[in-house]
Amino acid sequence: MKNTNMNRRTFLKVTTVAGGGLLVGCSFSSPKLLSTPQASEEELGMWIRISTDNKITLIVPSSEMGQQAHTGQAMLVAEELEADWNSIKVVTAQVHPEYMISGDQDTGGSGSIRDWWDKLRQVGAGTREMLITAAARKWGVPVTECQAVNGRIQHTASGRSLSYGQLASAATKLSPPDSPTLKTPDQYRLLGKSLPKIHTPTKVNGVAEFGIDVRRPGMLFAAVSQSPVFGGQVKSYDEAAAKAVKGVEAVVPIPNGVAVVADSTWHAKQGLEALKPQFEGGDSAGLDSAKVTARLSTALDELGKVEVTAEKVLDVEYEMPYLHHATMEPMNCTAHVSTDSCKIWVPTQSQTETLKAAMEVTGFSEDQIQIHTTLLGGGFGRRLLPDFVTQAVTVSKVLQKPVQVVWSREEDTQHGYYRPTSMSRFQVGLGGDSKPVQWENQVAQPNFLAQIVPPLDWFNFDPLAVVASVHDYTIFPKHFYKVEGVEMTHTGVEFGVPVGPWRSPPNSLNVFYTESVMDELAHLAEIDPLDYRLKFLGESPKHRSVLEQVAKQAGWGNPLPEGHGHGIAINDWFGLDEDTSVVAEVAEVSVSKRGKLKVHRVDCVIDCGFAVNPDSVKAQLEGSIVMGMSAALFEQITLDDGRIAESNFDDYRIARLRDTPEINVSIVKSDENPTGAGEPGISPIVPAITNAIFAITGKRLRRMPIGRQKLV
């Protein structure tokens, strides 16, 4: 296995905790960072805290939102530390540069294992070596005669052993190793095993604490209403009526809206109802979904249609809707601002954005703000944004009391950062060998990265239109399908509707396009869709092998019952990385004579490098397939009179158990570095389903969701 980050040395720093335990901190880049004399015990115990009674707390950089980052990251440390897995507790770190990658502390991009693979193992290994040295000195024997085994250091020759808790104090007096020796895979005791997820016990008895479960002494509850037209302002409200409601304590303005604060959630909700806030103005005023489609279409026309001359020509347009994250736990945040400090308890994917939002509202410096990350009731990208943090801190700043802001499901649905809508036109001419001689592709969609990186707007450049597409942009690596004659253009279209990252931002759009078009071309060329794809994978052996393996697993080409069909699709994630996860899926679907659709079975093969916890990888793929299928079958956010038309789960329908097919996930055995498993599986299921529908009915679906579109 490669150790790509070994050139970045890990500097460990240790000290004694009051009572004699061991605190281990470290710095990855600068030995100075943690060696300042002022560093507090808290800071020094940034990664590992070992108490004298052998309890081990691991402080991990990632938020836990169901992807099992806590379990996986704890396994990386515990493997090298040789810790007793049953003695381990895991918490998400406070905000600090040590937990940042490229200046940000956030959880996304399927990176919790991929990005921390080397570093967390080094932290564990360095600590293990110190514990061994401490024991060896105590016994007066060479370190080579001592071994770390399951939370104890043993001296086999004399039969002596000491627990980590007993050695912790002595270990703090040692100089930490600069380059600890990592285990080789044959020495793994935990890595590669399907250990039970660390939070499962508290998630089956109601004890797990999510953001909405935070309770602080004297805490008040706030309900909020924001302008339904994006960017609109509050025009008026009836404050007296709200305050007349029992338990209501205050009405506080927030950006684009207003909060009612009370002694319970229910009183706050009733107060908000009595408040009857009215709004005016806004960026999306007057917008509806028909206008969105028309403007995307106009934007494509402005990019210009190209003349394609070939024996066989495909000329098609695809469209994808806005999508909502719809996390089961609505957006919420608890904040307590006082004259000189701000404490925050929040289910967030971005401690960095939380910190920035709190600094902006309070004017405080970084060291006056404390961020406690709770468990997240789903994230999927929505919780990378800090809008709900701004609200809680704003309200608490006014009241100087702990306040919990919890959004209603309606607020949550109508104030998202949606997966952008998008339109893509393909004109492809096939040559004599059935391969494209000309591949023209134009894309029009809102450019959400431009909100974060303004120069992208100035240059009208949207990397998310390009990545995971077959393209000819030289600054990005080429697509795994090697296609000739490609010309791709794109343009941003701004609607005033907030857009953001939705579980695999570029791929959730572009893989539907690419994998549908490949299927269309296969049909045009009268070649089996699997065989056709393989023609373009000559330089991508990993993709080829994953695709072949999933086809074999699904029984591709075998006869199916009448009305049933197979569809296939492939994806890699993330297209800009040197090593990507590759995943392929086959959906077995049926369409009845009356047009009723059912997804019966999905086969999935993933190569994500070494699988640290295979069962967690499987769970991520199962979940991705269900969520992707849900989007394909049901989901769309529409606009009416400048506002989101959907409001709750009755009109933003998501998949239920009865919609769920049999799912078979296989993981390719690999000793390469882990490459991520949270997102790759969600994109290919959409075209796999629509390609299967085509195989059965001959009807090509080029607009999502499938919804009520007629299939026969």
């Binding site: 939102m65 169901g66 992807q67 099992q68 039970p196 997820k197 939070h199 499962t200 016990p201 508290t202 998630k203 089956v204 008895n205 109601g206 004890v207 797990a208 604490e209 999510f210 909405i212 479960d213 309770r215 509850f221 029992k246 319970s264 959630t265 229910w266 719809a326 996390t327 089961m328 736990e329 609505p330 468990l375 997240l376 009731g377 789903g378 994230g379 999927f380 919890v406 209603s408 499901r409 069962d615 769970a619 199962e622 979940g623 991705s624 397939i625 269900v626 969520m627 849900s630 709750n648 789960f649 009755d650 998501i654 998949a655 239920r656 158990l657 009865r658 769920t660 049999e662 799912i663």
Partner: protein, 153 residues
């Protein structure tokens, strides 16, 4: 003041009788295992048992359930050893876990009515939403719990 019988204990709650049971459980009694998801009885995250019946606690008022036996996730067992909880652990069902209290309560009730449910009966009986997509494991865990319940009895 209303007297609620939650998890076998009588609790006097100082809320108006039209307060949804969900908010009385969470904010007044302080049992936060029961979750808010939608407020309109669509998602099932707030499912509790009234007697043996699964009820979405966001859609029923404190006044309507006064004196009735209410069971929340915290009251399902002392030690997380209810067969449904054991099956949930065996199959490693939860991902984010937010909907799982409701899923488990719904499953307990389904197994009361159908001790040996078919896949189709599970499909019909389990209408709770899960955004993480744990449904395949929910299905497996209900079959497993059905076996465990038989071993117990």
């Amino acid at each position: 003041m209303t007297e609620l019988k939650i998890n076998g204990k009588n609790r006097l709650v100082d809320v108006e009788s039209d307060t949804p049971l969900l908010w009385a459980i969470r904010d007044t009694v302080g049992l936060t295992g029961t979750k808010y998801g939608c407020g309109i009885q669509q998602c099932g995250a707030c499912t509790v048992l009234i007697g043996k019946r699964p009820v979405r606690s966001c859609g029923i008022t404190v006044g309507e359930v006064a004196g009735k036996d209410i069971t929340t996730i915290e009251g399902l067992s002392e030690d997380s050893k209810h067969p449904v909880q054991l099956a949930w652990i065996e199959e490693q069902v939860p991902q984010c876990g937010y909907c799982q209290s409701g899923q488990i309560m719904a499953a307990v009730s389904l197994l009361e009515r159908k001790p040996n449910p078919t896949d189709q009966e599970i499909d019909r009986g389990m209408l709770n939403l899960c955004r993480c997509g744990t449904y395949p494991r929910v299905r497996k865990a209900i079959h497993r719990a059905s076996d465990l319940l038989k071993e117990v009895s």
